[in-house]
Symmetry: C2
């Protein structure tokens, strides 16, 4: 998870069915046959059933049997579409997460200070997670380690969108001269997200009131923006050095 941009291809290929040899590649707009349509429709039913049950009963309290029953399929069938219950959880919520983030980015206040822009985006995500804390906890736990290539790909897509969005904001502020141009926007984005993410985990863990969490998050982001180094301090140069101090 939280992969950096340059990633090598996954080993786990998604094996395509072999049947339709001649049809597909002849350039004709092949609309999916009954088989494919059935599959898609079934997948939708599964995700829908799971989404509903997770939302009402909670993740741990929902059994795969219930989901299968609600989706009107056999127990075994469920596991043709999701490798595990946890896999299903990520399947269900990846889209919502992405949409929430995209919606947040779309409404970023244009001329505002960077920290305000960030807090706007993170604030919308926080509001999303606040709607069902228990579920978010379960989701973030699963996201930590993903087992199937498909879900890893999903997460990569999500993270690219997020990092890309934040990086764009950083780059924009670099252009206006607010920000120094030395910092790689993508890495900066990953830093800022990391700060948000661990704060979020802490909050979801309970114990901290939301207002305090928000206030501290803001303070932390400000620190990352301002930096720790005293102004005018000679940078420790880009490369490796052990203990020596030049000048």
């Amino acid at each position: 998870m939280f992969c950096t941009d340059a990633m090598t291809r996954e080993g786990g290929e998604v094996v395509e069915p072999k049947l339709k040899k001649a049809r597909a590649n002849s350039g004709i707009s092949t609309r999916p046959g009954r088989r494919e349509r059935n599959k898609q429709e079934k997948r939708a039913r599964i995700v829908g059933a799971a989404r509903e049950l997770f939302g009402t009963k909670g993740f741990a309290e929902t059994t795969t049997q219930e989901i299968a029953e609600k989706a009107d399929i056999g127990t075994g069938t469920l596991f043709l579409y999701a490798k595990s219950k946890e896999d299903l959880l990520v399947m269900v919520f990846k889209d919502e997460m992405l949409e929430t983030f995209l919606a947040a980015f779309k409404k970023v206040p244009a001329g505002a200070p960077f920290a305000d822009q960030l807090m706007h985006v993170f604030g919308m995500m926080i509001a999303y997670h606040a709607k069902d804390v228990e579920l978010s906890r379960a989701l973030l736990k699963e996201i930590t380690v993903l087992r199937t290539p498909e879900r890893r790909q999903d997460l990569r897509t999500l993270m690219r969108a997020i990092y890309g969005g934040i990086a764009d904001l950083v780059a924009a502020h670099q252009k206006t001269g607010n920000f120094r141009s030395g910092a790689n926007p993508l890495l900066a984005a990953e830093n800022l997200f990391a700060v948000y993410y661990l704060s979020l985990l802490g909050w979801l863990g309970g114990q901290i009131p939301k207002q305090k969490f928000i206030r501290e998050l803001r303070a932390k982001l400000d620190i990352t923006i301002e930096g720790l180094a005293a102004p005018g301090t000679p940078k420790p140069a880009a490369s490796k050095q052990k203990t020596s101090r030049k000048s």
Copy 2:
């Protein structure tokens, strides 16, 4: 998880046995009776057995039956000491983690640049996780959401040590004038750790070669140290503001 310093007490009290009423409070150094000693010894056996099996067979591949058998206790007994298999995982590794961190802090190069000091500490943690990537993955996954008050307390202790250690380093550099004194060292520590932690997760997820991971981590930390803001930019003031720009 990753709780900030000021936390309210947990709701889940650890209920103490009621039997020894008069004995304990009379000020005399009460050495533990057979009951307590048995319990401690059994706990040690359980943790030892689990540690060994997790290390050799892996977390998922180890059954609670095996652990119980190796610890020479009944299946049910295991769950008197750990609420779940996952709970046991955290029980087993919290000490190692803390010790690794403390050992790393003890050997921090004294006069070195801050980024080098940080990389020393994080490098030792990374080396620790590298010894068993699979296990670390499982561990970090569980750490994300902790169910029992005991484990939450354990994690709080761990995080306090880590944040405290890093914060001390930050404070030291503030004292020498390397770092501006405006930043709260504790919040800065949390930022820096967050950057490390998410990078670590990315690396443990596979796909990224260790060298690249280390290089990027260093670059990210440098960004957090230097900050994003252009030197001499008027700070957006500490308080809330929407879109207005002063000056």
